[in-house]
Symmetry: C2
Subunit: 416 residues, 2 copies
């Protein structure tokens, strides 16, 4: 009886990510474990009181509206607030270019739904965000990847990949998940030029853009693309880039509030797709988000987040330098200028899945890097999150992890 | 430039519902129009104060949790509350059989994602819920339909349809959207028997089950199926039915809180699909829904909703009897025992799209029935919502609509 459904599931479900990693990560939910595994914001920074006041105001003043159905596109004042916010970063659009989504994950799903035909190729950085791979895989996409270095994807490898005709390229230029790497200005320009030359659209995923702890803000691809094609001259935003961002890292992920920026014709299709997918996002959460943000609170709040996460990032780098094997043994890590993650590469032949098994025994966890690689490489890599642990936990956790890695390197000298 | 995206959209988007009706319905958003078009609950019944108190409690007591990421399956106390609620209707499952979704619309999308291969056939009542057609169409389903009468779908036509091998059947046994019709006990039994005989699963969509204004509750298909196969004997819920319900009609649709009940193996796939789709529903809204409901408030509240909607339904039937052409002229309407809608059939040859154009001039609106018919028939039908208008608006609106219909019938005598 228990298998009566087995033969009924659609073919696409057979490509759903194996749950091996997920099962492993369930072990990391033990309360006494120090986890660098998730991508969770630090809960001590949540503006609980501000959200409470906003929820109160929304229900007292607009209760009937907040609890009723509303439009698929999203709450207009929230979309207008997002436009004002983005304009300060040079992204000049109007509310008809903005769709509210249930987290950026839903934006990825809807983009897959409206753009990907089965067998279409999607170009990504290698490694790339696991959630994007999951979303696009459900629409039977294949992946072409372009390797990265510390300045982002290698544009001299990009042109060849573009010639193979991907449907679009999916890029995270700022403090990439999982590597923490930022794409340089020169490479951004070259990506925009090549995308235009080959007529390949860009999906620019920018969840962490505001969380920069050092260096200057770099212009988004969507802005560079607009300048390149001067597409605003007719008053309309038409371009080659679909831009995604979110309130999950600057306000709170539990509200599932994110947005897509795109030319109107793309928004129109995404809206149609969202109607069949979930009708609309929570009216209440949209109005609460607007109420929290409308007076400028989020700008002040982001300053505070930057300060705290910036310290945690430094602390993790220092702890790695202290506790991890010498770089001469082939152990490297990135030094992100922002975001939530840094990325460790161990010598070839070390499997970070095995490292995780050992690490969990020492009550410390991370995410093995292999699943972020569409091609199945990267078994010697790992992602470390620094936003969800205290500085004490960072010191202690990295020390434990350093012991595990050192131990494994000593037992496997041939791997070095 | 404005068409640079046109050729990029996936084939499935070309099957997205034409927006002709939607454009027409935009006209009905004028404030001075009496609209029977939406499926909106009456906002005067929203328990605003209870939601406000619940939001306050959740943020004061569990703020960090409410604003953080949480599991894809949904907030466990909310799922447990749903189990207790359903047990009173004979649906005996545990929380591993329950997934929280962003409205039932998302449940339909996820079901499409995990069950439908391109070209699979989905069996529906004719007419059926438009949102289900939209959701399943995105996974390239074809539709087989079975006609209905006042006792629900015609089971003597069902067997032939089942022989053509649909992937599943999608049914709304209680106060169906759009017709308001309820499937009789005898037909429910026969549907369960035939589904089992042909090995075809049932998707039972039950958004309105609690909103019954007359007659006795009829056992859900999921309960009848469980008894039929005695599937609880091994302590596990395994069956042939996926059951959907929602808080949208008993609490508030703006929170987008609904749920799926299914065997664990199905829930497991739905959870994987939801991970790639939007990760999870709003943690905050889930906790607020639980907080509102946990003391039994929703039971009391549903009594009040039944009373009010029951009166509105009666009022609309009375208004139709008074203002609409005599049934001898071929005009019929259903007399729903619950739910939000009733269904009017005009004589063949009358196009309710044209009726709507005339009606909007008279400042009254409804939804033409054709889009609810996968086969494109039903051009002479219309759906009327009675939950979102006051009794005065019902009297006035039906009178106006009666004038329009009478006028059209008189101008098209050959159609009668």
């Amino acid at each position: 009886m228990s298998t009566r459904w087995d033969h009924r599931f659609a073919q696409r479900t057979q490509r759903m990510t194996s749950s091996a990693i997920r099962e492993l990560l369930k072990l990391t939910a033990q309360p006494d474990i120090i986890s660098f595994a998730g991508g969770l914001p630090g809960p001590a920074l949540f503006p609980i009181e501000e959200v409470r006041e906003a929820a109160d105001t929304v229900l007292q003043q607009h209760g009937r509206k907040a609890l009723q159905y509303s439009t698929t596109e999203g709450y207009p004042p929230l979309r207008a607030m997002i436009c004002r916010h983005m304009a300060r970063y040079g992204i000049v659009v109007d509310i008809n270019n903005v769709l509210i989504t249930s987290g950026s994950q839903q934006a990825l799903d809807l983009i897959g739904k409206v753009l990907i035909n089965p067998g279409d190729k999607v170009l990504t950085e290698n490694p790339t965000y696991l959630g994007a791979l999951q979303a696009f895989t459900m629409y039977s996409a294949d992946f072409i990847t372009v390797p990265m270095d510390d300045d982002g994807l290698l544009v001299d490898k990009l042109e060849e990949a573009l010639r193979s005709g991907p449907k679009f390229m999916y890029l995270l230029p700022n403090f990439q998940n999982p590597t923490g790497v930022t794409m340089s200005v020169e490479r951004r320009r070259e990506v925009i030029r090549l995308a235009d030359h080959y007529g390949i659209p860009i999906i620019e995923d920018d969840p962490y853009g505001q969380l920069r702890y050092e260096g200057d803000h770099l212009e988004s691809l969507v802005v560079g693309d607009a300048r390149w094609r001067d597409c605003h001259t007719h008053g309309k935003f038409t371009g080659n880039v679909i831009y995604l961002s979110t309130f999950s890292k600057t306000l709170a992920p539990g509200l599932r509030m994110a947005w897509v920026v795109a030319p109107e014709e793309v928004i129109h299709r995404l809206v149609q797709a969202k109607q069949g997918t979930d009708l609309q996002c929570s009216t209440f959460d949209q109005m609460v988000t607007y109420e929290v943000g409308r007076g400028g609170f989020l700008d002040r709040h982001v300053h505070r987040i930057r300060e705290v996460y910036g310290q945690q990032r430094l602390r993790m780098i220092q702890a790695l330098e202290k506790a991890f094997p010498d770089p001469s043994l082939g152990v490297r890590w990135t030094r992100p200028e922002g975001g939530l993650f840094l990325w460790v590469t161990l010598p070839e032949g070390i499997d970070t899945g095995e490292v995780l098994l050992e690490a969990v025994k020492e009550k410390v966890a991370f995410v093995p890097g292999a699943p972020f690689h569409p091609g199945g490489d990267g078994r010697n890599t790992m992602r470390l999150n620094f936003s969800n642990a205290t500085t004490e936990q960072i010191d202690e956790g990295i020390e434990r992890l350093g012991r595990v890695v050192t131990g494994l390197l000593e037992r496997k000298p041939t791997a070095v």
